[in-house]
């Protein structure tokens, strides 16, 4: 398996991003604000697979939403290809744990949703979608409605939809979090192949240490709330990686120890 090496140009640069949310229910300002992110900086090179690893509630998803342009950070900056993101939308593709397939659209029409919003010609979009669905083993389900599909198949359709948005940066927020272990392993395989064939930059969010080691070029370990970057760990292991590879086991142990310290601190 030859892999296109990650380029040297920074695709995504996040500098000193902080975010607080107002308390729910109370009207008074100032008191009780929830600090979710504090001075988070990270970067991803072109075609790099970067993972944010951290305990639940560490602000990973908030960072995701900021990168996706859903809301701006309180402080700091997000640059995509050197251009500030500044809440301009439509520049990244996004996928989360929920597949968010629209039940009234057939599989193929769910897959082309991103292209449709961009105003791409329908016939060409469908052609492209059909090709991708075939590669993801969904060729017989083009015209099915999502309810007829299993969880893993639905998530594969969501992955095709994400890929078909034709964005260079994919933000994947715990995309396989709701799947069983075997389906999850298969999905990781699909994602790895996708990365090899299409060479997108991927910002991947997970709390699963093994998943992070298997997939990533680099891992950022986040602390519990307020989320900060605790460590940056390159994973220079050859691919494809197996959970039982010596290197994988070693990196896993290292990361678990780091997270263990972090959790111990958080619960002290």
């Amino acid at each position: 398996m030859r892999r296109r090496s990650a380029g040297m140009t920074p695709k995504l640069v996040i500098t000193d991003v902080s975010k607080r949310f107002p308390p729910l229910g109370t009207g008074r300002s100032g008191a009780g604000w929830l600090e979710v992110l504090r001075g988070v900086s990270l970067s991803a090179r072109d075609r790099e697979f970067v993972t944010l690893l951290g305990p639940s509630g560490c602000g990973k998803s908030t960072l995701c939403n900021i990168v996706a342009g859903l809301f701006p950070p309180d402080r700091g900056e997000v640059l995509l290809d050197g251009v500030p993101l500044a809440a301009s939308r439509g520049r990244v593709a996004y996928m989360q744990q929920k597949d968010l397939l629209l039940p009234w659209r057939r599989v193929i029409d769910n897959a082309t949703l991103g292209l449709e919003i961009q105003g791409a010609p329908r016939a060409a979009a469908r052609e492209e979608a059909r090709d991708l669905l075939r590669r993801f083993g969904l060729e017989r389900f083009d015209l099915a409605y999502p309810r007829a599909l299993s969880g893993g198949m639905r998530q594969r359709v969501a992955l095709v939809r994400t890929l078909l948005c034709r964005k260079e940066l994919l933000v994947l927020d715990e995309p396989f979090g709701a799947l069983d272990a075997m389906t999850r392993a298969a999905m990781q395989g699909y994602l790895r192949r996708l990365q090899e064939e299409f060479g997108r930059t991927i910002l991947f969010i997970t709390h699963d240490v093994e998943e992070a080691v298997l997939l990533s070029d680099r891992i950022y370990v986040m602390t519990a709330r307020p989320g900060r970057i605790r460590a940056e760990i390159p994973i220079p292991l050859p691919r494809p990686r197996q959970p039982t590879d010596g290197g994988v086991v070693q990196e896993k142990a290292r990361l678990l120890a780091l997270l263990h310290d972090e959790m111990a601190e958080a619960f002290r």
Partner: protein, 284 residues
């Protein structure tokens, strides 16, 4: 009615080995069988009720101007079919027009309520509160304003149908998954695209359940309108026949009205089945 599906169900049993033809027949007979299973018991009960009614009327010698026997009502249905069908057409026209107006205005208002916070906060509470006004109570006013002809009945039907359509459409438009809405926004969708690609299609099942409630009540609306003041229609026929102690004709009109409501309900369900293929159950 009951025998046919049963016999058909037997055909594929024998034909199973031959393949596609048997399977096609089985696929077709499955819904028919289900329908028979669903409609059978209430139909039997209805028949038993009618038989008891017939027997009681004859046994106790109840005069026809108090309670006519089912057989007598049936005879009126046959003998006066021209009259009844003509009057039914009038009532049906009132229902269709009233329903169409309420649907267009109701869905439009629901879209406005969901598009604008100002409209939502100002108008929606009034829409809800308007439900406390007994619409039938203003029927005499409608006669004063719109006269004895078609318009007052159309207004009555429209007023009654309006509320379930607005409320269900608003509920449906609001029911969209916020994460799905966010996904579209992240992909760069405009508010109009969010409305037409997520909110509107997601609202359709709610709209249809509103319509199903509405068609049944629209019949009531038109009839009440005709009772209060009219020169034709099934409601007018009932009032007229009642005054002349033609109770059998009153019952015949009631039969027509009931069939009308059932027919409208089935028609809506049929449209829903065609329009929302993704809602069909896996077996159908």
């Amino acid at each position: 009615m009951k025998a046919a599906p049963v016999r058909e169900a037997r055909v594929p049993m024998g034909a199973r080995a031959t393949g596609t033809r048997g399977e096609a027949a089985r696929a077709w007979s499955a819904p028919a069988k289900r329908l028979a299973a669903q409609a059978g018991p209430p139909a039997l009960l209805l028949a038993a009720g009618a038989a008891a009614w017939e027997w009681a009327v004859r046994a106790f010698g109840v005069p026809f101007y108090i309670l006519p026997a089912p057989s007598r009502i049936f005879r009126v249905l046959v003998d006066d079919r021209g009259l009844l069908a003509g009057q039914a057409a009038v009532t049906l026209e009132e229902i269709f027009l009233g329903f169409a107006i309420a649907f267009v205005v109701g869905v439009g208002l629901a879209l406005l309520i969901c598009a604008s916070r100002v409209v939502e906060r100002a108008v929606y509470p009034l829409v809800i509160a308007s439900q406390t006004v007994p619409v039938f109570a203003i029927a005499p006013l409608l006669i004063v304003w719109f006269g004895y002809g078609l318009p007052s009945k159309v207004a009555m039907a429209a007023l009654i149908v309006f509320f379930p359509i607005v409320v269900n459409t608003v509920d449906g438009l609001r029911a969209a998954d916020p994460d799905a809405v966010n996904l579209l926004l992240i992909l760069g969708a405009s508010p109009a695209q969010v409305l037409w690609k997520i909110r509107a299609p997601g609202a359709l099942p709610f709209v249809f359940s509103g319509i199903r409630i509405a068609v049944a009540t629209s019949v009531i609306g038109a009839v009440i309108g005709e009772w209060v003041g009219a020169t034709q229609g099934l409601g007018f026929t009932m009032i007229h026949a009642n005054a002349q102690l033609h109770i059998d004709l009153v019952f015949a009109a009631i039969v027509y009205l009931s069939l009308m409501a059932v027919g409208l309900f089935l028609a809506v369900s049929g449209v829903e089945w065609v329009a929302l293929p993704w809602r069909r159950s896996a077996g159908a």
